[in-house]
C-alpha cells in the first residue's frame, strides 16, 4: 500500500548503456589527447631504456650493479618515508583540531594548510633559502635569543622542511574527512565505561581514524618520490635523489639509456606504491580520493 508521499526520484532503475553513447564521445577526444601527449612520451622513455645505446637490458644491469644507483634508490625511499612520517605526526593533531573545530576555525585551518600548495613552488623554495641560509632569518632569530647558529641549508633537513610544508594538505584532508565521520560519542562512551581519556583515545579514536591516516600517508609517499626542485635547491648535491639524478643523466650527460633506466625505476616505485594503495584500500574497504588536493 503506497499512499505515503514519496520524496524525489522517478524510481527508474540505473541505466546500462551499450557502446560509447553521446557522452562517451565527449570524453574520448580528451582521453586520446592525454594518451598521445602524456602516456606516449613516457613510453618512449621506457623504450629508450632498453634500446640505447644498443638493444638489451644493460641499463638495468647497471642500475642494479652499481652501488651508486642502489644508494640513490635507497635514499629516495628513505626521504619519502621520512616525509610521510613527519607529515603524519604533524598532520594528525592538526587534522584532529580541524575536524573538531567550529566551521569558522575549520575554514581558516583549511585555507592555511592549502596555501603553500597554491603558492608558487619556486617562491616557496626561494623563501626557505633566505630563511635557512647562514646569514638568514632563522639564524638571525637564533643568535638574537642567544642560541648558536645552525647551518641547515643544503641538508636533508632543509629538504624535509620544504617538502613537508607542501605535502601537508595531502595528509590532512583525508584525515579530516575520516575524522569528521567519527561519532564523537563513541570515545566518550569508552570513557564512561571507565577508560581514562588517553586510553580511550588510543584504543578507540586512533583505530577509527586510521583509514584516513593510511590513505593520506600513501598519497604523500607517492608524491614525495617525485620531488625535484626542493631537493635540488635546498639539498646537498652529494645526496642526490632519483628525480635529480635522472635530470642530470638526460639533460647534462645526454645519457638516454641509463637516464631511461632511472626513469623506469622511479616509475616502478611509484607504481608499486599505487598497487599498495589499491590493495590496502580494498582490504580496508576505503575510498581514497587521490585527486582530493586538486579540489580547492
Amino acid at each position: 500500500m503506497t499512499t505515503a508521499t514519496r520524496p524525489a526520484g522517478s524510481g527508474a532503475p540505473p541505466r546500462a548503456r551499450r557502446g560509447l553513447g553521446p557522452y562517451g564521445i565527449l570524453v574520448l577526444p580528451v582521453i586520446l589527447i592525454v594518451v598521445l601527449c602524456f602516456v606516449v612520451p613516457m613510453l618512449t622513455v621506457l623504450v629508450r631504456a632498453v634500446t640505447e645505446p644498443e638493444p638489451g637490458l644493460q641499463n638495468f644491469a647497471w642500475l642494479f650493479a652499481s652501488d651508486h644507483t642502489l644508494a640513490l634508490i635507497g635514499r629516495t625511499l628513505r626521504l619519502a618515508g621520512a616525509a610521510t612520517l613527519i607529515t603524519a605526526l604533524i598532520g594528525y593533531p592538526y587534522a584532529y583540531a580541524m575536524a573538531t573545530a567550529g566551521p569558522r576555525v575549520q575554514a581558516i585551518m583549511l585555507l592555511v594548510v592549502l596555501l603553500p600548495f597554491w603558492t608558487s613552488m619556486m617562491v616557496r623554495t626561494f623563501a626557505w633559502i633566505i630563511i635557512l641560509q647562514n646569514n638568514g632569518v632563522l639564524n638571525a632569530m637564533l643568535t638574537g635569543v642567544g642560541l648558536p647558529p645552525q647551518s641547515l641549508l643544503y641538508t636533508q633537513t632543509a629538504v624535509l622542511i620544504g617538502m613537508c610544508q607542501v605535502l601537508m594538505p595531502f595528509m590532512v584532508l583525508p584525515m579530516v574527512a575520516v575524522m569528521r565521520s567519527i561519532d564523537m560519542r563513541i570515545p566518550l562512551a569508552a570513557q564512561t565505561f571507565g577508560a581514562p581519556p588517553v586510553k580511550a583515545f588510543f584504543t578507540v579514536y586512533l583505530p577509527m581514524s586510521l583509514p584516513g591516516v593510511l590513505s593520506g600517508a600513501l598519497i604523500v609517499f607517492i608524491l614525495s618520490l617525485g620531488f625535484y626542485v626542493t631537493p635540488a635547491l635546498l639539498g646537498s648535491p652529494r645526496e642526490q635523489i632519483l628525480p635529480n639524478a635522472l635530470f642530470n643523466q638526460i639533460v647534462d650527460l645526454l645519457n638516454w639509456g641509463q637516464g631511461g633506466a632511472l626513469a623506469v625505476a622511479l616509475l616502478v616505485t611509484v607504481g608499486l606504491a599505487f598497487v599498495l594503495v589499491y590493495l590496502v584500500t580494498r582490504a580496508l574497504g576505503l575510498k581514497v580520493n587521490v585527486a582530493g588536493g586538486a579540489q580547492l
Binding site: M1, T2, T3, A8, S10, G11, A12, P14, R15
Partner: protein, 373 residues
C-alpha cells in the same frame, strides 16, 4: 466525460501503441497502449517504480522506447529529437534555470523558437498573468517560494501553447494546503488553455481531484483506465481498489454468485457485478457505504448475514481516527478488515477493542479476484 472547456481545445490527441522500455534485462514498462483525447486531463497514477514516470519520459523523449510508437496529433514522436517535440513540461524539482530571472526562464522556450522580440514579450506577459506572477518577473528563482517556483515552471511550460503538457509529480514538494491551491489553479489553467495534459502522481487524492481520466500503473503495466468515479466505484482488481481510496476487504472464495468467508456466506446476486469465474476472492466495500453499530445492536435483517436484504458481519475496532466531519474506524474482521467512515454525529460506537457490527447493502459490495492466491 471531460468538463467543458471555456476556451477552445488547443491540445492534440496522444496515442501510445504498445510502448515498451527495457533497461538491459529489466523491463520498465511493457506494452503500454492508450489513447488520450485532445484537451483531456489524464493522470498516470501508481506507486514508485510502477512505470508511470518511465512512460512519461518516453513521451518527452528522455528515454528512447524499445518498442512501440507514440503519436501526437497523428504524427509519430518516436523518432523526433526531444527539442523538436514541441511539448511543455513541468518537472518535479521545478528545474528552473538558476542563473535566469523569472522572465528569462519563461522566455527561454520562446527564444528557442526564434520568435520576434515583441511576440516573446507578449507571450511571457500572458504566461506571467496566467499564473499570477507578473510582479515577480525580475526575481531570481532562489528568491521565490516553492509555490511561486512551481508557477514559474508552469508558465515556462505553457507560454508557447504546447499541444501537450507533461507534468511529473509537480506538486510533491509542496505542503498540503499549497498543493490543494495549486491543484485548483492547474485545473483552471487547463480549462482556459484547453491543452492536453498528462499528469504523473503517486498521490491518489491528487489524481481523483484533477483528472478527467486516470491510468493506474503497476509493475510496468496499465492495470486500469477510467474516470475517477469508475476507478473508485468499480475497481477491476485488488490493486486498484487498494491504491485508489480506502476500503473494507474480506478474504474468502467465490463461486456461483456466492462469496464464502469465515464470517459467513454472502450472496452476490444483487452486487454491482456478479462475476462468472470462481476461486479465491476478496470482497470489497467502500468505507462510506458501510454502517457501523455496536455489536449488541441487532442485525438489520438476517442474523447470519446470508440474506439478500442487508449483509452484515461482526468485527472489533482496532483504531479510531477523528477527521473532523467524520470518524474513521479501522475494524478487524474475520478474514480481513479495513476502514469504515462514520459521520460524526456526536455519539460513539465504541472504543478500541469494542465489538461492532458492520452492515452494507449487497449492491455496494464488489467481488475481486485474489491475486496472491
Amino acid at each position: 466525460m471531460s468538463p467543458e472547456h471555456s476556451g477552445d481545445v488547443t491540445g492534440a490527441a496522444l496515442q501510445l501503441r504498445g510502448v515498451t522500455k527495457r533497461f538491459g534485462s529489466f523491463t520498465a514498462i511493457e506494452d503500454i497502449s492508450l489513447t488520450i483525447e485532445p484537451g483531456e486531463f489524464v493522470t498516470f497514477l501508481g506507486p514508485s517504480g510502477s512505470g508511470k514516470t518511465t512512460t512519461l519520459n518516453c513521451i518527452a523523449g528522455f528515454e528512447e522506447v524499445t518498442a512501440g510508437e507514440i503519436l501526437l496529433g497523428g504524427n509519430s514522436l518516436t523518432s523526433l529529437p526531444i527539442h523538436k517535440r514541441n511539448l511543455g513540461m513541468v518537472f518535479q524539482g521545478y528545474a528552473l534555470f538558476p542563473h535566469m530571472t523569472v522572465e528569462k526562464n519563461i522566455a527561454y522556450p520562446l527564444k528557442q523558437r526564434k520568435l520576434p522580440r515583441a511576440a516573446i514579450a507578449r507571450d511571457v506577459a500572458f504566461a506571467l498573468e496566467t499564473v499570477g506572477l507578473t510582479e515577480f518577473k525580475d526575481r531570481m528563482p532562489t528568491q521565490l517560494s516553492g509555490g511561486q517556483r512551481q508557477r514559474v515552471a508552469l508558465a515556462r511550460a505553457i507560454c508557447f501553447g504546447p499541444p501537450l503538457l507533461l507534468m511529473d509529480e509537480p506538486l510533491s514538494a509542496l505542503d498540503k494546503a499549497l498543493r490543494e491551491q495549486l491543484q485548483l489553479e492547474i485545473r483552471r489553467i487547463h480549462r482556459e488553455l484547453g491543452t492536453t495534459v498528462v499528469f504523473v502522481t503517486h498521490d491518489q487524492d491528487e489524481a481523483l481531484a484533477l483528472s478527467d481520466r486516470i491510468v493506474v500503473f503497476d509493475k510496468g503495466r496499465i492495470v486500469q483506465i477510467g474516470t475517477p468515479r469508475e476507478l473508485y466505484q468499480n475497481p477491476e482488481n485488488v490493486f486498484v481498489s487498494e491504491f485508489v481510496g480506502e476500503s473494507v476487504m474480506i478474504a474468502g472464495s467465490y463461486a456461483d454468485g456466492e462469496f464464502s468467508t469465515e464470517a459467513g456466506r454472502f450472496s452476490t446476486a444483487a452486487a454491482s457485478s456478479s462475476p462468472q469465474w470462481s476461486g479465491p476472492a476478496q470482497m470489497m466495500i467502500r468505507p462510506e457505504r458501510i454502517g457501523i453499530a455496536g455489536a449488541e445492536a441487532s442485525a438489520p435483517a438476517s442474523g447470519d448475514g446470508s440474506g439478500d436484504a442487508v449483509h452484515s458481519v461482526r468485527g472489533v475496532i482496532e483504531d479510531i481516527t477523528y477527521v473532523g466531519n467524520a470518524v474513521k474506524y479501522r475494524v478487524g474482521l474475520p478474514g480481513g478488515g479495513g476502514i469504515v467512515r462514520s459521520q460524526d454525529i456526536g455519539g460513539t460506537v465504541g472504543d478500541i477493542g469494542a465489538p461492532v457490527r458492520l452492515s452494507w447493502n449487497p449492491a455496494d459490495a464488489r467481488i475481486l479476484a485474489r491475486e496472491d492466491a
